[in-house]
């Protein structure tokens, strides 16, 4: 079975943050992550970015409380 190239994986990871991926897509990602550390890191960092953005408004000066 031919693995997806990293370029496609990175796009799929981004799409996965906006829609439910299909079964085949999820399998393709998992298989790719097993062998590719760069994409594993990329995937983790994308999810981290989401968390960071969600915490954004609470991060600043909130001295009124």
């Amino acid at each position: 079975m031919k693995l997806l190239p990293c370029r496609e994986v990175s796009r799929l990871v981004s799409q996965g943050l906006g829609r439910e991926l299909g079964f085949g897509e999820r399998v393709a990602l998992r298989l790719h992550f097993v062998v590719c550390e760069g994409c594993r890191n990329f995937n983790r960092q994308m999810h981290f970015l989401r968390r960071a953005i969600r915490e954004l408004p609470d991060s600043g000066d909130d001295s009124s409380h």
């Binding site: 190239p5 990293c6 370029r7 981004s14 799409q15 990329f42 960092q45 600043g60 000066d61 909130d62």
Partner: protein, 192 residues
């Protein structure tokens, strides 16, 4: 009849928070001010809508979100796509990969990202990075990640094609990743 003044005062105490929230989204102090003002007026008028809910801030933020989306919709009508917002073209990002689709520079792991989330300076770095994105790209990204809108709704609000929308979000994520890596994660000095 005007609402009891203590409700007004409670609402008013959330203004600073709401302003900050709106500024992150709208990236325009004046537009943020307007959206918050509209939200506070709507809140005063709809006090009974709050009755029985426990968290005033959550309730107000919910109202504010609608006002922000309205403001975004207005301004995206007035403002054409900027050059940087690019059509559905990914050629600039293709530079990240070599011909066969592998990373030119595979992303390295980040050191202790959880700790970054506890640091105020990290969020300043994040805001700086957001500020470097093309205006519409940033807006689309924040609508998705901050306001939690579905991608389809974002396309509709911004009046762009679905493909363009996906590309904008991808570009935003990849660009932010790179920016955070440069300004934060590769600079241990910044984290102390």
């Amino acid at each position: 009849m005007s609402p009891p003044s203590n409700f007004r005062a409670q609402i008013e105490s959330q203004r600073a928070y709401l302003l900050r929230y709106a500024r992150v989204q709208l990236r325009n102090a004046e537009a943020a001010e307007d959206a918050v003002q509209e939200a506070l007026l709507a809140a005063l008028a709809g006090e009974q809508g709050f009755a029985g809910r426990s968290n005033l801030r959550t309730w107000l933020t919910g109202i504010l979100k609608h006002k922000i989306v309205d403001a975004m919709r207005r301004s995206s009508r007035e403002q054409p796509l900027g050059a940087g917002d690019a059509e559905a073209v990914l050629s600039d990002l293709d530079a990240l990969f070599v011909e066969d689709g592998h990373w030119r520079d595979p992303p390295a792991g980040w050191d202790n990202p959880d700790r970054a989330l506890e640091q105020k300076q990290f969020f300043s770095a994040l805001e700086t990075c957001l500020g470097r994105l093309p205006a519409r790209t940033a807006r689309a990204f924040l609508m998705r990640e901050h306001l939690g809108l579905e991608t389809e709704e974002i396309c509709k609000e911004l009046e762009i094609t679905s493909t363009n929308c996906w590309v904008m979000l991808y570009r935003a994520r990849v660009t932010l990743r790179q920016c955070l890596e440069t300004t934060w994660f590769s600079d241990p000095g910044a984290r102390r």
